[in-house]
Amino acid sequence: MEPSGSVATQPRPPPPLVMVNAINKRFGGVRALRDVNLEVRAGEVHALLGENGAGKSTLIKILSGVHAYDGGAIEIAGQPVAFDSPAKSREAGIAVVYQDLSLVESLSVADNLLLGREPLGRFGFVRKRELMAQASAFLTQLGIPLDIKAPVGSLPFAYRQMTEIAKALMGEVRLLILDEPTSSLTSDEVRILFDAIGKVTRRGVGVIYVTHRLNEVFEISQRVTVLRDGANAGTFVTADTDMRRLVNAIVGSDRLAPATVRAEAQTTRSIDPSPVLSLSNVSNDRLREVDLSVLRGEIHGLAGLIGSGRTEILETVFGLRPVESGTFEIDGRRWLPKSPADAIDHGIALVPEDRHVQGLVLDHSIERNVTLSRLPYFSRWGWMQQGAAVRRAETAIGKLAVKAQGASSLVRTLSGGNQQKVVFGKWNDPRPRVLLLDEPTVGVDVGAREEIYGVIRHAVRDGTGVLVVSSDLVELIELCDRISVIIDGRVVRTLVRGEIDDAEELHHLLQLLQASGQSASKDALQELPA
């Protein structure tokens, strides 16, 4: 797309509302955006697609003035602009609604809308009646049906989101950016939201709509831009494209795992076919009739989007979430997880998603952290056997190759990869029957990642069953004997190694399963390229 401002004399269509020309952005050594272009017209809903890490968030943050960019240019209505703060972006008429809402829950809708710009009377008192009138007039004009007196905290999520959108539209707004607005809405609420978006675009506002849900793209957008690995992967007119082409653009064809890694992964192991853990028909607030089994010596992966219920499956098994119905068996015996302590007693271990919050006491030593989950093994009659505890920590440091000065080093001083190894060290000995792993290599450098894979494979050789959640599909393909796809708290499909053997196919399958809703999984698989 060529910059079009140069020829001024010729009569042309009005310049697009927003032009992003060849934007570049680096974070340290990482190129987050490479020559990215985006054009949004007035009154248009422009969908922005891409996987996690494709660059959508970075682009949005540049448009909203949170990040500076390294090269390229942004024009609004033909005028070049430069944002060095969110306030500048806001002045230029760009408003962003993030996933995490920024409302004061205890205040009413009207108070929230006019927060910081309340009509004031003499002596600085708020003129309540005028405030109500302004808010009410504004919402009527937008056509958004909200009770202005209701405290925001009492509203259903969709209405809070509309309050947020309405708030974003206060003042002169020309471009509205919605970042995954439907991720926590019910289908009825989505309807309400789409109506509101329609009303906004009719006033000439341009909308950038970021989403993971492809079906919504076809429902609401006029055009689509896909980002992949920080670069443009195509801009489409929605009416002229289809889901397959979008999925291809999102996934790309160069996402194969490096050949060396894959070769190593293919070593065959014999798996004892008896399940060490099985769930049947397990339901609770986030899970729906989950059927799942982990065999002795098996690595079983859980794939799905963030929020699909993958983590919740692990949490339920670990006794962190109450079970409403369904049965669990561990080594063939019926059991109901009651608490983490109970789960640990039954030989279950969890390496949680957020090691800083859930996995480690950062201000304590490696020794204290490693022994925390196994204190009974290092005590007699309740009295600590300090020597045994230190030896155990030193063994763990040696076995897992933790780079630290010693067992008394504070965990806070270690790198991400080494911290994660300490979390693994908590469960090293005795070997758990079932090892639950939630994003085991997030924030871990490549070398440490390979070492962690080694630890996982070693555990499996000793007969542990592993249930692993990962958003890194290459990782799942590399590690897992079976992969279950989770959508909306349900196991939609379970794949056996060999059925799908590269990450690209898995990407396709996930996207198609996600797009086509919960049920049509078989058809989706048949549509895949061979």
Binding site: I344, L362, R368
Partner: protein, 330 residues
């Protein structure tokens, strides 16, 4: 378990190392020696400025005056390391003292009955604090603010604010006026509480759990620790020690009074914080608490000897506490 300890003997080069390290840990906690330096400076200043300060009698005096704070501060150390606070300790002491004295006057004038009643009442208040905090998820600041008021009110209600006289000589000897290994018993009880505290906090699994719960409650839960039980136990320990302090006080004054030690919770908390505990949890040690308590006791004593007016004493004490905490915090 035996095979775990057997090879220990072979690993002797590290064993002495470890012992030294443990001693270091015990002495200095997180902040090297700052506390002891402050204490020594205080001693030097008072010794130079008052001829009566530097004497065995006066030190015994300081020891006796700080016993109540020191004993309770041991429990408070557990509570604060576990990221909680207990404001009710002074009222608990008053209520426990009344319970001990009344129980003795009702049942055989037996010192055992008195002791059990006093310690039991303290433990019960602690249990209530713990259960309300953990089961109803009310911040312990609010729970214990409530029990502070309730326990004091109950202590006053049982006798309509009148003191209860104690006449049991054995009780006086054991808790207030006797000597043990040449020490006045109040000091012996303080040492006993310290030793139990050191053992529990630094050598027992319970201590590990306390540190973990305070350092990161979520990680502790994910490691299979019953965080509610551990937190409740810390409150029970503190309540029980407030009960012990009540026995010491009532044995010394031959009576239990419902209006004693009002506001002492602040001295206790100040001692623990001075001693190096973090109000954000996960950090602290018993010996630090002892010195924190001694610093406060020495300040009280030295300022009196210097003839500083009591309003001025309050101002100086407060300023020194703030300065010390500002100085020792990370």
């Amino acid at each position: 378990m035996t095979e775990l300890t057997a090879p220990n003997v072979v690993a002797s080069p590290t064993a002495s190392d470890r012992r030294r390290k443990l001693l270091q840990n015990l002495l200095r906690g997180e902040r090297p020696y700052m506390l002891y330096i402050a204490f020594v400076i205080l001693l030097v200043v008072f010794s130079l400025s008052s001829p009566w300060f530097l004497s065995v009698d006066n030190f015994l005096n300081i020891g006796r005056q700080t016993t109540l704070v020191s004993i309770i501060a041991v429990g408070m150390t557990f509570v604060i390391i576990a990221r909680q606070i207990d404001l009710s300790v002074a009222s608990t002491l008053a209520l426990s003292g009344m319970a001990a004295a009344l129980a003795m006057s009702q049942i055989n004038n037996s010192w055992v009955v008195g002791a059990v009643a006093g310690l039991g009442t303290g433990a019960l208040v602690g249990l209530l604090n713990g259960i309300l905090t953990t089961q109803l998820s009310i911040p312990s600041f609010l729970v214990t603010l409530g029990t502070l008021s309730m326990a004091r009110g109950l202590a006053m209600m049982v006798t309509n604010t009148k003191p209860v006289i104690i006449t049991n000589e054995t009780y006086f000897a054991i808790f207030g006026e006797g000597t043990f290994l040449g020490m006045p018993v109040p000091i012996a009880w303080t040492l006993a509480a310290m030793i139990v505290g050191i053992l529990l906090l630094h050598y027992n699994v319970f201590g590990r759990r306390i540190y973990a719960v305070g350092g990161n409650p979520t990680a502790a839960l994910y490691s299979g620790i019953n965080t509610k039980w551990v937190t409740t136990a810390a409150f029970v320990l503190t309540g029980t020690l407030a009960g012990l302090a009540a026995l010491v006080l009532s044995a010394r004054s031959h009576a239990a009074r419902p209006d004693v030690v009002q506001g002492m919770e602040l001295d206790v908390i100040a001692a623990v914080i001075l001693g190096g505990c973090s109000l954000f949890g996960g950090r602290g040690y018993i010996l630090g608490t002892l010195f924190g308590s001694l610093i406060i006791g020495t300040l009280n004593n030295g300022l009196v000897l210097l003839g500083v007016s009591s309003p001025m004493q309050l101002v100086i004490k407060g300023a020194i506490i703030v300065a010390a905490v500002a100085f020792t915090k990370r």
